[in-house]
Symmetry: C2
Amino acid sequence: MQVQANALRAFCQHALQEVGVEEEDAHITATVLVEADLRGIISHGVARLRQFYVDRVRDGKIVARPQVHVLLDAPATAVIDAGGGLGHPVSHRAMQMAIQKARDLGVGFVTVRNSNHYGIAGYYATMALEHDCIGLSMTNSSPLVVPTFGRVAKLGTNPIAVAAPAGDEYPYVLDMATSTVPAGKIEVYDRLGKPLPEGWVIDEAGQPVTDAAQAIEHRRQHAEGGHLPLGGAGELLSGHKGYGLALWVEIFCALLSGAPCSYETYPNRPGRKPQPAQVSHFFGAWRVEQFRPLDEFRAAMDDLQRELKDTPKVAGQSRIYVHGEKEYIERDRRSREGIPLNPKVVVDLQLMAEELRIDFDL
Amino acid sequence: MQVQANALRAFCQHALQEVGVEEEDAHITATVLVEADLRGIISHGVARLRQFYVDRVRDGKIVARPQVHVLLDAPATAVIDAGGGLGHPVSHRAMQMAIQKARDLGVGFVTVRNSNHYGIAGYYATMALEHDCIGLSMTNSSPLVVPTFGRVAKLGTNPIAVAAPAGDEYPYVLDMATSTVPAGKIEVYDRLGKPLPEGWVIDEAGQPVTDAAQAIEHRRQHAEGGHLPLGGAGELLSGHKGYGLALWVEIFCALLSGAPCSYETYPNRPGRKPQPAQVSHFFGAWRVEQFRPLDEFRAAMDDLQRELKDTPKVAGQSRIYVHGEKEYIERDRRSREGIPLNPKVVVDLQLMAEELRIDFDL
């Protein structure tokens, strides 16, 4: 099933409004979700609309109409309490604040506490591009990742996203979980029925898990084991670096904003009263012209990208990519041709539409 | 051979002054080098004094007494031209500037261009700690790392260092090359005569290099092949993430400061007139109290570290570390017991002392 982005966005917004989210917040959230699908990051798109957002709002785990408070607003920094609402709208506003500070002063940083899952980290980083800024976005998340030498998950997949403008080439957009792969990738492998490579997930004995459904079931049951940090198990291939990057994210998101770390987020357990997830984020912006004339920077970004692409390739490979490029190409194509939806996702959205008594009019 | 840090520092400073470096610059450089040995990062310590610094100053590749220019000095940002001098002194001053800006305004960022190899990235990040700031330090470097799917090195090992203060626990100090391992680790394995694990270095055909001496010889000859980015070859274990982190460093160091990228640094070739290396750096500081009361932050850092250390361990492991901890423990020990020097390093320093006609009085 191929759907147009506009129709998919309207459907998502409709569903979110139906469970009580205000129009503008629902619109921003729908925009971020569909943007993930447009970029081909299908793990973080509308496949998660129901389970990650709509159901949690209905269950009272996400506050539909939160009281958002700016706790601190200084020239270069701010701290926001999201009031337990959806992560996307508050993150959108926090990044806007960081960008405005960067336009005024050269740099801006905003932490957000008491929030929820905010979708793709890269969305907020790329907001900086049209303002000729470099953007940064980080978030902690539910505890899925083991520290090096540990067999119980304590850290989130804690993504880092950085975006920088270019000239004729696509902007650079790094958007990476600090684990080997993000949790959503396991969901994609499960939907495709593909085995997981070793080095992604370990079980309670520290042994590789290669069955995607088993990995997801483990996670649901909060069993021991978990995702490995970037670099894999142990220190030989530097798994401690991925673990260290995850800690960096934890410090900037949770510790600077005064929020719980990943291992204390999502305290909900079956049978207990719904509690807020308490996820936290960090956003930053650096204005390029604060350091160097913009046209020179853009030209240098193009030169760098061309030099990398011209690198002689290893056997069997014909192309070298720069971060963000695949997603921009995919976005162009999907904007024209529509977004292909996995049959399992379509069924899930249809069921949700029935429950909410809204039209599934895609 | 065990030597005391003070004696080693004085010897290094003496050698640098002997080739024309000013006293204060020589002192800072010696301090950073010996600090690497104290922390147990022996790949980046005095083992490199001769080849990386003294010889290059003598050969005219590093300007002994550079003209350093502050090209831009705004409230939150600055850009410095290092005049082709040693990387350590200018980086020390740039980080001091970033910290001062963070004390005034909450955050501060300084780029440095036209510099040289600056030693351990972590040194500058940890300078922020005594000012109750979080510190950031990045540098590009000579082209040693292949982009994902490439077989020619284009990027530096481009380290990232982040340091954050704690309470009773050691500060968090992440100091990581964005390649699987830093170049210095190959030198250490060579000195120890140990084979390299697969996933560190590839040859011109994209095949793993397991012989350390061969890897170093390849590098000297600027042969094809090179280090793999963190995550290894290809995309299966997310080698593109290490490649993306290296690009982040390139953008913040070289592109923001107006310097060449790693693949254009160190343009010297045998038989040609010495040219400056043109390495560039990026430094940042965030004042914790700009976001949250310091005592709360410190207590939360302690809680986070204790939670991680209490994680149940995989079979065969008895301890989980937090980044910086091993180095602080080693620093305590080596400050008391002295710094053990590898016999090959001792011979190298003795030969250098003879050439410079200074005492090898350790």
